[in-house]
């Protein structure tokens, strides 16, 4: 398990650094998508989650759902181009799951990538992802999870 400034960042996941989201590739090629522990730390307690609808096509870096914490509304950015094929209803009912288990039960939507081989080039994984998050945390003036 990778950790940067106390934030867990599993090294086997793909990360969209600017969006502060992760993606986990499933056997059928679809991707589970969620917020990183770092994003959760910046947001605080998440109290609402509204996914975009199943069947919607989303572009990379555009919203595949919105979260609310501390009266702030913000998007969960799609890490790649694709179609929403599932949403996590458990997180709609209990958005705090995102804080409690960001890389497991707190996944938010499942995407079927439309062009994985090309889009994956813009994602980082492993040590490169940890380095990028470390740089971003410094730029953000972040103290730690």
């Amino acid at each position: 398990m990778g950790t940067v400034k106390g934030c867990e960042l599993p090294e086997d996941l793909y990360y969209h650094i600017d969006g502060n989201v992760w993606a986990r590739r499933r056997e059928d090629g679809s991707l589970d998508v969620g917020m990183t522990a770092y994003a959760c730390s910046l947001a605080g307690q998440i109290v609402s989650f509204t996914p975009r609808k199943i069947g919607k096509t989303v572009r990379q870096d555009k919203s595949c759902g919105t979260v609310e914490s501390g009266k702030w509304v913000g998007p969960v950015k799609a890490p790649v181009n694709g179609e929403i094929v599932a949403v996590n209803d458990a997180v709609v009912a209990d958005p705090g799951l995102i804080n409690r288990d960001p890389y497991g039960a707190g996944w938010v939507v499942r995407l079927q990538p439309s062009n994985w081989e090309e889009d994956r080039a813009s994602l980082l994984t492993g040590a490169a992802a940890l380095d990028a998050f470390a740089a971003r945390m410094d730029a953000d003036g972040f103290g730690g999870c």
Partner: protein
Amino acid sequence: MSGDAWRVVDTGLRPAAENMALDRALLEARQAGESPNTLRFLQFEPAALVGYHQDVARELHLEYCAAQGIAVQRRITGGGAIYFDPAQLGWELFLDRHGLGTADMAAIAARICNAAAAGLQALGVAARFRPRNDIEVDGRKISGTGGVFDGEALMYQGTLLIDFDVEKMLRVLRIPAEKLTRRAIASARERVVNLRELLGSLPPLDDVKAALTRAFAEAFGVDMAPAQLNDNEQRRYRGALAELDTREWVYQPERVYPPQTTRQGMHRCDGGLIYANVVFEPAARLLRQVWFHGDFFVSPRRLVADMEAALRNTPLADLRATLAGCFAARAAHGIGLGADDFATAVENAVAAAPAPAAPSCGEASHAD
């Protein structure tokens, strides 16, 4: 941000849909790099505004709004439902997150709210930021706030009560207060305050805007210059208005909202009788809103407002620690009661059978 120049835009009195569309347009333009950092002032024709994630029917007395010609709109920011009319001033900041020195959303909100509070202090009002999102004067709320971000751009907005019709608010919003009685109105009045009441007369609006402008300029180390919307913003505004001035946007008919219960709990202790009216989400075990009333004495009196503010959107598991923290922070005490007694009232509400459907305002008794 020292040396930077921010723009001040005053978009005047408008219908709610236009104000929401301007929020969207200015945020998009800021994110696209088409606009500088901006302070916007705005005013509303009478309107009930729900937060981005809220269910209109759950939050508002829609029949009353329709009968009174009160517009219903959905904000792009978070937080709860509010009633807005020309006696309130809206203030908004559209900023790039770079240069704020932090990406922590609570810290950004605190910095902005502290600046707004300083502006009110310059008017002679002892305003303070009350976490997580209010500006208050001696425990009474004078400005509620909320925000939205997308990429590196953010918009943070607040209401400022210049004057305020509490009874109208109670008729518009489905807040879990007592039924609409004189006592409920008095109880609500204890929770909010406005500039007219504090200053003894209505302050000139231009003075209020100038004080806020100076305070934001000082807090962020920037110069402020009045300006108009640019062409890109006008174009984006027209597009946003077409999307937001619709029933689809306001009512979001396809959205699924987690079930909520609104229940009253009672707790009798040596110090008296505490009622807690509680909006609760069972699936998330989340306290959405708590309203305390009853016959009891606590000092300072503001403790009730502190507790209600602290319990907004709080996991039930954190209830007792949160209330204990409120008592400790104010060195508060009650006569014959303590933080745990308020917690018990809340827990009794959560455990209570569903309340019978509350009468609508029109049916509610005005006798106390």
